[in-house]
Amino acid sequence: MTTDLSKTQIDKLGNRLKSDELLEPDVQQLDQYRRTFAEPYEHVVGLIRSSLGLEPTGRPAKSTTAIREKLHRESIRLSQIQDIAGCRLVVENIEAQDRTVENLKAQFDDVTVVDRREKSSHGYRAVHLIVRFGGKPIEVQIRTTFQHLWAELSEKLADVVDPAIKYGGGPQGAQDLLAIGSEMISRRERQYVRFAELSLAQGQNISPEMEAEIAAIRATDEQLDADIMNGLTEMIEKLSTKVGT
């Protein structure tokens, strides 16, 4: 059942999956293709668990719906999709995210890092690692709690309001919510990075201005997190009234 299909067969299957009608034999062949990722997936996720003591949630095979959408949305062939199998880690903050990325990179021989934090994809910010094992790509998503909250919100809005929302389309209110939310989180995380830099410098000869900056960030740290949540909640309530759900 896990016999490898040729690249041509895979891409022909991808073309058929793009059509409006989904046929049973195509789903079966797609399943055959997806199962060829099982061993690399288990190796990569197993190593993350055993060597790093992390607890990712694995998704051994991308859903048919999500594959078809991706084929429709992007000029990509089925054989080029990098996230057929993968897993997700949610970590507390950007410092833990950096640490986790470095640690993961050290575990695998063939890793490509896709850092979407500075240059987001329609507001989506995270770090993805593409680990190649046994000739197959396995995607490892690493998100901070805030990045994750934003991503889940975007996905859920795309599910129930308009699928275009995930890619910068859909109702203006939803677009604004996600754009402003993403920027708020980005700003907060940049501040966190700055705080980490200052903390590292503390104890050495740092200027009174830097000391004052550290004190100011410390004093407002918990409030800033709460402000993001409250800001998002407020925008969501406004949008909820407009959308009428």
Binding site: E55, A66, E222
Partner: protein, 209 residues
């Protein structure tokens, strides 16, 4: 643990969720395919996916979209008291320095004994990866202590830093627990009797809720 989820995107609701043990992977895959085929035959559009996690609480956290409304996603997070969020950042994870030697990491107590938090043990990534090794029970493949009384061994070849992390075993569960790190000795002169610079007889880490 594996979860087979049948999700109605338009309604934003899970229609069905089945749970499988890790050993039932093939059965879960077969049932996923069978469900997809049934949906095609009956003209139903659904997202059918298998997720794999240590427990349901972890899966619900990493895939909140399946379980929560968009209106409540941020509100649920916002309702966490800022002091608790800060405490969570500071207290869920402890790092402890260990010197060269053999150590027992023992899950001592948990505030919630019915659903005790999971205690993860790992080597701080900033330590040399070869500086210490976690020795697990032959039937375990993850350095996770699941309940008080469970333990694992760390063999440190040089000074290293361990990260001890407490994670709730269910949504909004407790992380309050204590973990004891004790040196194991064979009685030779070369045995190192210290754990960290100030704790010659072992230390106890307290994790708060």
């Amino acid at each position: 643990m594996l979860f087979l989820i049948d999700y109605d995107r338009r309604k934003g609701q899970i229609v069905k969720m089945e749970r499988y043990d890790d050993s039932e992977r093939n059965r879960a895959n077969e049932e996923r395919l069978s469900l997809e085929i049934n949906h095609i035959r009956s003209g139903v559009e659904r997202e059918v996916v298998i997720l794999e996690a240590a427990n349901e609480a972890s899966m619900r956290n990493t895939h909140r979209r399946y379980f929560e409304n968009w209106e409540t996603l941020a509100r649920n997070e916002a309702q966490i008291d800022p002091r608790d969020r800060l405490a969570r950042k500071q207290q869920q994870q402890h790092s402890v320095d260990i010197d060269r030697g053999l150590f027992l990491v023992r899950y001592a107590t948990a505030a919630d004994t019915t659903n005790p938090p999971l205690i993860g043990v790992s080597l701080d990534p900033r330590s040399d990866a070869n500086s210490a090794m976690l020795i697990l029970h032959p039937d375990d493949d993850r350095p996770i202590l699941s309940r008080p009384g469970s333990s694992l061994v760390v063999r440190a070849l040089e000074r290293s830093t361990l990260l001890i992390e407490s994670t709730p075993s269910r949504a909004n569960g407790s992380t309050a627990a204590s973990v004891r790190i004790e040196p194991l000795i064979q009685g030779n002169d070369t045995d190192n009797l210290t754990v960290g610079p100030r704790a010659p007889a072992g230390i106890t880490l307290m994790m708060t809720a």
